[in-house]
């Protein structure tokens, strides 16, 4: 079975490599600053002993005070997985860096989040609506959408 890596262990590694990139960590996940998300993701993918080559999903949650973007990665070689998150406090124009350059599988999922939650993914090559049509007003999965 796939081993879920401890967020605390990964957080100490990340803190060593990129000081200040980790906001908090628990057994289940690591919370990362949006600014350093792209370099952390590249590190997770390219480090041989981690080698997260498979992108499970990216999803987003609206907690009113902030949006939380959640990523799950798996390494097919080492058979372990990791969940890491980033928070966006800007409700008017939330944005996080896109990871499409690292994992092609993030393409449609980031577009879905952009479509339904209104979070921009900076650097996405084709960021446009995927389920709803051009001209639709609002973002339906936000908690304040009626």
């Amino acid at each position: 079975m796939t081993v879920a890596l401890s967020g605390k262990d990964i957080a100490s590694k990340l803190e060593e490599r990129f000081p200040g990139s980790v906001v908090e960590s628990s057994q289940a996940c690591v919370l990362i600053k949006p600014d350093s998300l792209l370099e952390v993701a590249a590190f997770l993918k390219d480090t041989p002993e981690l080698n997260f080559d498979y992108f499970n999903y990216v999803t987003a949650v609206d907690y009113f005070q902030y949006f939380e973007i959640i990523y799950q990665l798996t390494s097919l070689e080492h058979n372990h997985s990791l969940v890491f998150k980033a928070r966006c406090y800007d409700r008017e124009n939330p944005a996080v860096p896109s990871v499409v350059e690292l994992w092609q599988g993030a393409d449609f999922q980031e577009r879905e989040i952009y479509d339904l939650m209104g979070i921009r993914f900076e650097g996405h090559p084709n960021l446009k609506r995927i389920f709803l049509w051009e001209g639709f007003q609002g973002y339906p999965l936000r908690k304040d959408f009626l």
Binding site: Q104, L132, E134
Partner: protein, 205 residues
Amino acid sequence: MEVDRPGQYIYSDTEIDRVEGQVIEELKASSQEALPDPDQWLEEEAEKNILVTTVDAVINWARRSSLWTAICFPACCAFEFIAANGPRFDLSRFGMEILRASPRQADLMITAGTLTWKMAPNVRRIYNQMPEPKWVIAMGACACSGGIFASSYNVVPGYNHIIPVDVYVPGCPPRPEALIYGIQTLQRKIAAKSNINLLERSKQG
């Protein structure tokens, strides 16, 4: 073999999306009111008594006995339709077993499933491509009224906002028996139609 680098894929034209969005917005704006039943059920008996000729009887018998269904199954009610088509319920007893992939060869549309606004222009196009005379059965709660999704941001509250519906089959999903009853109801409706009367009406119009 060289694998494409990310970012080198060809993405669809944004102009197409803009036009699509415009079409959907226009359709949505013009479909806020439900279309009335074109044949007015209440006058059925009266129409039957005005003019029933032998020609009518033959034409209606031919039409109702081999209804060919256009494939328009956007969601899960399709599985009840497939069950109805299978050996247990056997729609071919009513001359109904043929499903046409092309709407140009069909005269009945069984709308099995939820319709989103994004899909609505395509369903309307399929309906417009069907030759006259044509009928529509709204199958399931979503097709009748939008069902549990009626107040959603992108679900059409009933097919009758987009196309005129002849028979409504409620249920979520309806049992194959209910669908068969709906089809038989439609066949009775076709049988009660007076074609010559209709021709005169269209001449006047």
